[in-house]
């Protein structure tokens, strides 16, 4: 043994430790991947060794590699091994590795439950701590359910170190297992008043996190938190409490009123910026929740704004940023208080930090009024010119548009100004937001009727100068505005001064270099213009001009007919033919203008974006009802599985409906896609315009000269928006003067009535728009429903924690405590055979071996070992349990269960619960089993093959505890009994005696089976495969209903029913080593016949024997 240890440590000297690995990686910079793959091979070798120190070292290295991005999920079981080491050093590494590598999908996690439970109850607080820390990272719903009770117990641990960890981890448990919240909450609440500040702070943390998600359930705690807030001096705790109040106040305005005072006091007194910031935020939340019109709170707002101003003025970028962020919250409810700091915010636009500039921009959005809009936008336009970097410039551009268009152009008093701003923005080079400008142009031109003439003139100018915009079109999204310009000129062509010129501009050959969708609009609107021109010249004497226009179209359109873009080509060829026809008519002097105009008659009205959604469903219409009943399921599905077993019958292979359906569906989907692709009326997800353009082969080879101009282009003849600003100011001045005159008059008239009119700065309403603007509102269907948006995300994990906590706990609401049920289960059909009732040990006539052992020196001990078999299936677990009791009359009761392990086909876990039934203290328990060739008790490193295992606890009177022993099993085809002994010391007040108890562990073949559900088609396939050997069993005189019989087989032997027809059923189970066991059970006249198939004949024989035994006992 000593030699083994020495050998182990010599081996270790040649192993790489973590430092060697890290150093190695750093020295192999060029071929890192190769080096690491050799390292991983070494690690795999190390993990195969028995030495736990070597394994721990390997796992530690793996944790490092995991961080570097290598997959280490294959070593999950080794991590569990290291976790279960009894040495803290290795345990710590194991848990660290687990917390880094495990996630919900890691299947070995379910093996850790008992290990974690053991560590949680370890006398060493650091074992417990390490387990709690690890658990916080990889807790799964199963772990949370199984361990919730243990963790709740730890919340009252004597050591604050454990208490605070337990309290914090409860939050993770609640998230994974919401049922635990109500039972655990009272204790959590107690912890708010824990004497240890760390525990208290942890409890505040958890409740605060809970309350933030579902505040209404925590309102009743407000007084308690109020007390804590006024008494605590710990800033960390204060911040959490104040944040909690921020969540509660919207639900309870009275609370808000109470909070204002202590919060403002804190704001005045604290020097910690983080606390100050939190207070300001909460005060803002409170003030938002209080209905406005509380004059006495304007002081608190002023205080907040002042403090924020200080933050913004600070040289620390972080404070500046947060100040602006908080300011934007105040802005929503108290815009006036923020607007007075406009200067400061405009300053921030010059900050070198882009994120601060963007914050300031956000603020500006809310700060505009009718009065200052033009001025602010002017500043922004200056920044647009200065801005370096297209991202920021694009951001500015969108902000300008957002600011102007917000709430239905509420703040725009002069739309001529706005149009000219938009036109100026088209000078921006390389912006991605051409379409945004375009949609604004369209929107304004359509909805503001009064502006159309002006807009059309501007757009005509844009079209005329289009070559300037499209200079280097490839990387320029700005050409999108031409789309809008062309459409506006065409649609509202009656406002055009010189439609001929615009028409000419739209048909220039250069247009053919524009993206296809824009060309299409050009062509279509050229036709509209043509109609306008015709109408203009109709009746006039010179038909010459009209004919010239027709000629122009006939000459230019062929260019577009050749376009590779279908849309352009189609429209162009249609229109070309139309024009040719008109030309013919013109030559005959037929008046056609009226008819051509009719092609484009009618006005477009804007429709609200959600109009269709808001159409109310007419009464009596049920959209979910079937129009035609769905076809019923095919009946052939119910074919009997009997055929598979009965040898004389031919084997039917059932049609696999699902698969066929799947294929069929895929085929249909494909066909439908094809159809849609070929259907011009089907709206496809539109390919981006750019792409269409590049795909066009006709255009690709045309060399496009790229003009790089460093100076922003000035489009000649454009009115500058600044002029409007000046004009506007003058106009306002004049208005003001007039108003004053009027007011004076009024004053004179009203003199004596005493009502003073506030003649301070002019208010919003005083500014009248330059010309009367009629903004066409978007159309809505009749009886539109009120808006119904914003549902909570149904996937939010916190939703499940919306639980009423004030309701008293019901009896049923307890955390699950996993017990080895020592009372008989009362499920139907098993009453008869459960005879291992611990209360009446004498009654038990053991069906198996009864062992009596006489103590040599002492006279009294008779121990009876009982192996009456009672199984407990637990549908939640993948394992199986075979529960057996050993009863020692006077001192010790023990219950054991054997659990097969799905992950490891060679391991079986035996958990034994020892219960001290005597008045004496039991200690120094040692558990030992005589190994057989097949089954061995796993002993720790270095222990001899005959050494016993020390049970890691002592038992005071009346106490029970659980110990786990792992057995390795080679073959599972035979049942097995292992002899063992348990020695312990019975210590009473005056004496202590050494006791020894012999027992036998019975590993039945059934205990290696695991209840596994199986679908009938997979089952049929399995039987057809022909790999299975068959065997059969007849039971006579079984007098019980068929379903009881099935329940009994399922319950005792871990089978599941695959299919049942009348008195015939197919059943399935699987062994831990993957053997399939299939049964066909038939019954007639008290005779049960079982045909069975399994890929392992001896396993099958033994299982059948055990089944027979079960039934012979009834």
């Amino acid at each position: 043994m000593a030699l083994k240890i020495v050998k182990g440590s010599i081996d270790r000297m040649f192993d790489k430790n973590l430092q060697d690995l890290v150093r190695g990686i750093r020295n192999h910079k060029e071929d890192e991947a190769k080096y690491i793959s050799t390292c991983i091979d070494e690690i795999k070798q190390e993990l195969k060794q028995d030495n736990i120190a070597v394994k721990a070292n390997a796992v530690c290295k793996l944790t490092y590699l995991q961080m570097l991005g290598y997959d280490v999920s294959w070593a999950a079981f080794n991590i569990v091994e290291v976790m279960s080491s009894s040495k803290f050093t290795y345990k710590r590494i194991g848990y660290l590795a687990a917390s880094q590598c495990f996630h919900e999908g890691t299947d070995v996690i379910m093996l850790t439950t008992n290990q974690i439970r053991k560590d949680l109850s370890s006398p060493n607080q650091y074992d417990t701590g390490v387990a709690l820390t690890g658990l916080s990272c990889f807790v799964t719903p199963d772990l949370a359910r199984d361990l919730a009770n243990d963790i709740m117990t730890l919340m009252s641990h004597t050591k604050p170190y454990i208490r605070k960890k337990a309290v914090l981890i409860m939050y993770k448990v609640f998230l994974k297992y919401p049922e635990s919240l109500r039972p655990a909450f009272p204790r959590l609440k107690e912890k708010l008043e824990d004497p240890d500040p760390g525990v208290q702070s942890a409890a505040v943390n958890v409740i605060c996190e809970l309350a933030r998600r579902n505040p209404k359930n925590y309102l009743s705690l407000a007084p308690l938190f109020f007390k804590l807030m006024t008494s605590s001096t710990n800033n960390w705790v204060l911040i959490k409490i104040i944040k909690l109040f921020g969540a509660l106040t919207p639900l309870e305005p009275r609370l808000g009123k109470k909070l204002i005072e202590p919060l403002t006091n804190l704001i005045h007194s604290t020097s910690a910026m983080s606390l100050l910031y939190e207070c300001v935020n909460t005060v803002i939340a409170v003030l938002i929740s209080l209905s406005s019109g509380m004059p006495n709170h304007s002081a608190s707002i002023q205080l907040c704004v002042q403090k924020l101003r200080i933050l913004i003025e600070d040289s620390d970028q972080n404070l500046k940023y947060l100040g602006l962020l908080a300011m934007s919250k105040i802005l929503k409810t108290h815009p006036k208080s923020v607007q007075s700091h406009k200067d400061l915010i405009l300053q921030c636009l010059d900050d070198k930090d882009e994120s601060i500039r963007l914050r300031a921009l956000d603020l500006l959005y809310g700060m505009v009024s009718k009065k200052n809009l033009m001025e602010i936008v002017k500043k922004l336009m200056l920044h647009v010119d200065k801005a370096e970097g297209t991202t920021y410039r694009d951001e500015l551009l969108t902000k300008i548009i957002d600011i102007c268009s917000q709430s239905n152009y509420q703040y725009i008093t002069n739309f001529e100004w706005y149009i000219s701003i938009l036109v100026e923005l088209t000078r921006l080079e390389g912006t991605r937001h051409g379409h945004l400008i375009a949609s604004q142009m369209l929107d304004v031109a359509i909805r503001v009727k009064a502006i159309r003439a002006f807009a059309v003139a501007q757009m005509a100018m844009l079209l005329d100068n289009a070559h300037l915009l499209t200079g280097n079109m490839q990387r320029n999204g700005i050409c999108e505005v031409l789309y809008a310009a062309a459409w506006i000129c065409g649609e509202f062509s009656e406002h055009l001064e010189d439609p001929n010129q615009t028409l000419e501009a739209m048909l220039r050959p250069k247009v053919a270099t524009l993206p296809g969708h824009i060309q299409a609009v050009y062509v279509q609107n050229a036709a509209k213009l043509f109609a306008t021109v015709l109408r203009k010249h109709e009746g006039a004497t010179d038909s010459q001009a009209a004919q010239e226009t027709s000629q122009l179209l006939v000459e230019r359109l062929p260019l577009f007919v050749q376009s590779a873009n279908l849309e352009v080509q189609e429209r162009a060829s249609c229109i070309l033919q139309l024009v040719k026809y008109i030309q013919k008519l013109q030559q005959k002097d037929v008046e056609v203008a009226e008819e051509v105009s009719a092609l484009f008659a009618g006005e477009l009205n804007p429709v609200a974006p959600k109009a269709q959604k808001k159409v109310p469903v007419p009464e009596g219409l049920d959209l979910d009802a079937w129009i035609n009943e769905p076809p019923s399921e095919s009946e052939s599905e119910d074919e009997k599985p009997k055929a598979v077993f009965a040898k004389e019958e031919t084997k039917h292979s059932r049609p696999r409906h699902t698969e066929v359906d799947e294929k069929e569906l895929a085929r249909r989907r494909e066909a439908r896609k094809q159809e849609q692709a070929n259907n011009p009326f089907y709206i496809k997800s539109s390919p981006s315009s750019q792409k269409v353009y590049q795909d066009a082969p006709g255009v690709e080879h045309i060399p496009v000269v790229q003009i790089d101009l460093s100076v922003p282009l000035k489009v000649p003849g454009m009115p500058m928006s600044d002029q409007y600003l000046k004009l506007e100011e003058e106009r306002r001045q004049k208005e003001k003067a007039e108003k004053k005159k009027k007011e004076k008059k009024k004053k004179r008239e009203k003199h004596g009535k005493g009502k003073k009119h506030d003649s301070g700065p002019e208010s919003e309403e005083d500014i009248t728009p330059a010309h009367h603007v009629d903004i066409v509102t978007e159309e809505m269907p009749e009886n539109a429903l009120p808006s119904d948006d914003d549902d909570k995300d149904p996937n939010d994990p916190h939703k499940a924690l919306d639980i009423d906590l004030d309701k008293p706990l019901a009896d049923t609401e307890k955390l699950p405590v996993r017990t080895h049920r020592s009372e008989p289960l009362k499920s139907p059909g098993e009453d008869g055979d459960v005879e291992s009732v611990p209360q009446e040990p004498k009654k038990r006539s053991s069906k198996e071996k009864k062992e009596k052992k006489k103590d040599k020196d002492k006279d009294r001990k008779v121990c009876q070992l009982d192996f009456s078999v009672r199984r407990i299936t637990d549908s939640n677990k993948n394992g199986c349990y075979l529960e057996t009791k050993w009863v020692v009359y006077t001192h010790l009761w023990a219950v054991y269960d054997i659990q097969g392990n799905l992950q490891d086909g060679s391991q079986v876990v035996v958990s034994v619960i020892f219960e001290n039934k005597s008045d004496s203290f039991l200690k120094s328990m040692e558990f030992n089993v005589l190994d057989s060739l097949n089954s061995k008790l796993q002993r720790p490193e270095g222990a001899g093959p005959h050494d016993g295992l020390v049970v890691p606890f002592q038992l005071p009177p009346g106490v029970s505890n659980e110990a786990r022993f792992i057995f390795s099993v080679q073959s599972i085809v035979m049942p097995q009994k292992l002899k063992g002994t348990l020695t312990f010391i019975v210590k009473s007040e005056d004496s202590s005696t050494h006791e020894k108890l012999d027992f036998k562990l019975h590993f039945t073949c059934t205990s290696y089976l695991i209840t596994t559900p199986c679908y009938s088609d997979a089952y049929a396939k399995l039987l057809e495969s022909g790999d299975l050997k068959s065997s059969s069993l007849r039971l006579e005189g079984v007098n019980m209903p068929f379903h009881h019989l099935l329940a009994r087989i399922c319950f005792h032997h871990h089978f599941s029913v695959v299919e049942r027809i009348d008195s015939c059923a197919s059943m399935y189970s699987r062994s831990i080593q993957g053997h399939h066991v299939c049964l066909l059970v038939k019954t007639a006249d008290q005779t049960v016949s079982i045909d069975a198939k399994c890929d392992e004949p001896s396993l099958l024989g033994n299982v059948l024997d055990e089944i027979k035994q079960t039934f012979s006992q009834c």
Binding site: N17, L18, L68, T89
Partner: protein, 169 residues
């Protein structure tokens, strides 16, 4: 807090701690994206940025970036405080900590973090208590070969950049 990442100026990950369950793939994606975003920021910029629906708080100490992701309602300044506190703890534990300490004793760095934060929440606000807990846990741990502390110069090039203390930025 949702997660904490430590990475070097070269974009090498030095430590990661996730307090929300995510798949490895998702974690890698987030890490890559964040490292890029944070490294691209100019030194004079503020420590906060909005990313997806989270807020990122980061701070640079010498050649190491400490980067935390918090939720919308969380307090940025207290998160900075947490980062600073963690650096102080590392500094006290290692004695003028440098990047190499964290590379070669990465498990220690995790242990310290785990004593300081649990499940993304600060569990112990007293530096003294955290260090006490770590020391006692270390006492339990036998002195195996994990204790080897390396000295600059033993290693290859570019060590000097990493070995200047985190506080000497």
């Amino acid at each position: 807090m949702q997660f904490m990442l430590l990475f070097s100026r070269q974009g090498k990950l030095r430590l990661q701690k996730w307090y929300v369950p995510l798949s490895d793939k998702e974690k890698k994606k987030i890490t890559r994206e964040l490292v890029q975003t944070v490294l691209a920021r100019k030194p004079k910029m503020c420590s906060f940025l909005e990313w997806r629906d989270l807020k990122i708080v980061y701070k640079r100490y010498a050649s190491l970036y400490f980067c935390c992701a918090i939720e919308d309602q969380d307090n940025e300044l207290i998160t900075l405080e947490i980062i600073h506190r963690y650096v102080e703890l590392l500094d006290k534990y290692f004695g003028s900590v440098c990047e190499l300490d964290i590379i070669f004793n990465f498990e220690k760095a995790y242990f310290i973090l785990d004593e300081f934060l649990l499940g993304g929440e600060a569990q112990e606000t007293s530096k003294k208590n955290v260090l006490k807990a770590i020391e006692q846990a270390d006492l339990l741990q036998e002195n195996l070969d994990f204790q080897i502390r390396l000295f600059p110069g033993v290693l290859g090039p570019n060590v000097s950049a990493e070995s200047s203390g985190l506080f000497q930025s």
